[in-house]
Symmetry: C2
Subunit: 205 residues, 2 copies
């Protein structure tokens, strides 16, 4: 079984190299540049070798997106009520939104790929990757439940989706520089204003 273990190890090493290369290409040049050819050329392997590790190029992109989600999680996971940030639930939601905004500004290509890829992929996204998204939205849900303990499970996820989508709209139009969107220098303040106003209007503060 020595050979088999060696094969597994080699494949694992190649997998990490391919994800590293994909991450660098995405970061510098955006999702359209993240092709099998570009990744193979960076790593110095054949295009075919990629398909010994990933089912298709979408599999590699999902692996890179998964890293982006992990980085985002690292930036925002302390903003949960009772967590290390020591903030009240409303302030947690505010900080979550501002941190999301900051992450999008700092890692625009990687952040933008999370949505672009979701839009263009035709095959099923694996459950483990869906779970990573659910985990992130779960941070919003935790604060909403603290603000309104009587809220139902369905309502809290629905409201979390609404808040997320609204903040995402402000951030994404702002970063695209769409002319009547919020200008980038005001994004953080405006996102915070939106979250506070919406929570107040919903009487969740």
């Amino acid at each position: 079984m020595v050979t088999s273990t060696k094969t597994t190890e080699r494949r694992h090493k190649l997998r990490l190299e391919l994800i590293d290369a994909g991450e660098t290409i995405l970061d510098k040049q955006g999702l359209n540049a993240l092709t099998a050819r570009a990744v193979a050329s960076t790593v110095g392997c054949s295009v075919g070798a990629i398909y010994n590790v990933f089912e298709d190029i979408d599999g590699l992109i999902i692996a890179v997106n998964s890293r982006t989600l992990a980085k985002l999680d690292q930036k925002i996971s302390s903003f949960v009520p009772g967590g290390s940030c020591g903030l009240e639930p409303e302030d947690c939601l505010n900080e979550l939104a501002v941190a999301y905004c900051r992450f999008a500004i700092e890692h625009t290509n990687a952040w933008s790929a999370l949505f672009e890829h979701g839009e263009r992929i035709s095959r099923q996204i694996p459950d483990w990757h869906m779970d990573e998204h659910v985990h992130l939205v779960g941070h919003i849900v935790k604060s909403l439940r603290q603000l309104q303990p009587a809220i139902s499970d369905e309502e809290s996820w629905q409201l979390a989706g609404l808040l997320f989508s609204a903040v995402h709209g402000v951030v994404s139009l702002g970063l695209q520089g769409f002319f009547f969107a919020v200008p980038q220098r005001k994004l953080e303040a405006q996102v915070a204003l939106l979250v506070r106003a919406t929570l107040a209007g919903l009487r969740l503060n």
Copy 2:
């Protein structure tokens, strides 16, 4: 000068035919399918003939987008305070948002091209086209000014941009079917909830 008039007329006719063709292609197949080759083939002219009428393919796309904005304006322009809808300013804003949502659902490709094209065009967008966008956001501004007469010009446009971007985020993620976004069947109700809550939170109702 008879010949010159004829030339002008012929060019005007071709212009309308090209926009019609572009509109149909965009509507059925989306922005990526709206190429000079596809439009020329539909109209039955040479690709070169397009460039006697439009500076470049972006010029044709802008003309098609301009039609989309006019259609959108037709759907929403009655929702202004004191207008034919007879609604109060807060209800105007609500109806504006719901009408925007409905338009995006009914004309997804055309609506989506307004943003996709803005993102990929590299040359300057002509002022007359920018003015069309400003005109649309102006509908939001009118209601905000009625709700809060003391609001400054800058604040009212800023707030209009924030409201628009938030609603746009909910609509666009919902239509993309991004998994934790608002599901399409709930879009109109959720958009209305967001607008009411935000206005209430900003004490604008």
